[in-house]
């Protein structure tokens, strides 16, 4: 099999501007890892500043994980606050600094699952971007919010095992190795899930376009999507 160094940044940067985040240098990673280990250790000791730093450094990908796992119409802001509150309340119990990121992910996944069980939250019908409606100066214009809502609606239809790595790579620029570490699965599994996730997303987008009378590519529908409920 040909070698595709998929975690290296392309020189012709993708339009999403994630080139830097995708760069992967072993030396840089080691330095980063040391700094993170110290930071996580301080956070585990209850250092308020360190906890805040951990939160700031991780909250974006936590939002991506929540978006991948959260049920429809659940309010991701609420779930983020839950994760933040749990971090403050319980990070002292994490004695292994190296596992803090994995623990944060588990907290986020659990919060999303709990939201799925709570019918009260679903009844609220808040939605992720409900707060953006009619808020012109909030930094996110309405068209962008609409598009984001549509994209998120497609993501919500993906099984989480495919949605999560896809969100982490496509929205956060995480490398496959980092995703594999976070999810505690082999890199090859992450790669397969990414490919299947993208294929499923394409198929869902085609179906949506066809349903709304939009253009649907023949090739997209001609290719068969993998079984959606099966993990590789």
């Amino acid at each position: 099999m040909a070698d595709f160094p998929n975690s290296r940044p392309p020189t012709d940067a993708p339009a999403n501007g994630l080139t830097d985040a995708r760069s992967d240098s072993t030396g840089h990673d080691e330095v980063l890892s040391l700094a993170e280990t110290r930071l996580f250790a301080r956070a585990a000791d209850g250092d308020r500043e360190a906890i805040a730093e951990v939160w700031h450094a991780n909250r974006r990908w936590i939002a991506a994980v929540l978006a991948a796992h959260a049920p429809r119409a659940s309010d991701i802001d609420d779930l983020m606050q839950e994760v933040a509150a749990t971090l403050v309340a319980k990070c002292r119990h994490i004695r292994d600094a190296a596992s803090l990121r994995g623990w944060l992910r588990v907290v986020a996944v659990n919060a999303a699952r709990m939201a799925g069980r709570s019918s009260a939250i679903e009844r609220r019908s808040l939605g992720l971007f409900a707060g953006e409606r009619g808020r012109g100066s909030a930094g996110i214009d309405r068209a962008a919010a609409d598009e984001a809502r549509e994209t998120l609606a497609l993501i919500e239809r993906l099984p989480p095992i495919y949605a999560e790595p896809l969100m982490l790579q496509a929205t956060q620029g995480m490398t496959q190795r980092h995703i594999a570490d976070l999810l505690d699965v082999p890199e090859t599994t992450v790669e397969t899930r990414l490919a299947r996730g993208r294929r499923m997303l394409r198929q869902l987008a085609s179906e949506r376009d066809a349903a709304s009378g939009g253009h649907s590519t023949p090739s997209a529908s001609a290719r068969t999507a993998p079984e959606r409920t099966h993990a590789p």
Binding site: A2, P10, R22, R59, I76, Q81, A145, E191, T192
Partner: protein, 214 residues
């Protein structure tokens, strides 16, 4: 399976990469994969069209990511860890809980001696004036009480009793119970026991054992 896929296999070279895997690598920025897609596109133009659609999806995801990032950046750490509610709306309930706690203690007859009363006065004095919010007062109370050894901790998470959406769009009303673990020293305590034929409950004074008794 694309025609180029078949040709590649028939030529006896390296096993061809699955088209989805190749497209996924290409849209993630892998230049080798991109070159392979272009090569395959010479004999199978549909894969180029497919690549364009996947890249469009990738762009949409990236834009969703920016929107999510903006949302995530607004979420700051709560001042104190709670689960199941919004910190900013807890001030009232915290204030009520403190008031009830102190009010409740004042109703218990003869439980504290002059020393514990002095401790209580010190704690109250420690709260002081000039707090802008009830949360600040609560934090000051906990900090002071910890110093004095009166508070061992808080039971987390608080118990959610009920919540409802406010009709005026201000948010949600959340009713919770927060419990604080306090340690008090009392020279005597009371136990309640049924007394007499009627079985009425009466308080029975319990004093600590003296050194002689021990």
């Amino acid at each position: 399976m694309t025609p180029s896929h078949d040709q590649h296999q028939a030529s006896g070279g390296e096993p061809p990469i699955d088209a989805d895997l190749l497209l996924s690598r290409a849209v993630a920025g892998d230049r080798s994969a991109l070159a392979e897609v272009r090569a395959r596109g010479a004999s199978d133009p549909s894969i180029l069209e497919e690549l364009a659609m996947w890249q469009a999806d990738e762009l949409r995801l990236a834009r969703l990511g920016r929107t999510l990032d903006a949302r995530a950046d607004r979420i700051e750490l709560p001042r104190r860890g709670i689960v199941g509610g919004r910190q900013s709306r807890l001030g009232w309930f915290v204030a009520a809980a403190i008031a009830l706690a102190w009010f409740g203690q004042s109703l218990v007859p003869g439980v504290r001696d002059s020393r514990s009363t002095a401790q209580q006065q010190a704690s109250v004095a420690g709260l002081g004036a000039g707090f802008t919010t009830a949360d600040e007062a609560f934090d000051a109370y906990v900090a002071k009480a910890r110093e004095e050894g009166l508070v061992e901790g808080e039971v987390a998470p608080p118990t959610l009793l009920r919540s409802r959406e406010l009709t005026d769009g201000r948010g949600f009303e959340v009713v919770i119970v927060r419990q604080i673990i306090e340690r008090r020293v009392s020279p005597e305590i009371y136990r309640v026991a049924p007394m007499g034929e009627t079985g009425r409950l009466r308080q029975i004074l319990v004093r600590p054992r003296t050194e002689t008794v021990q």
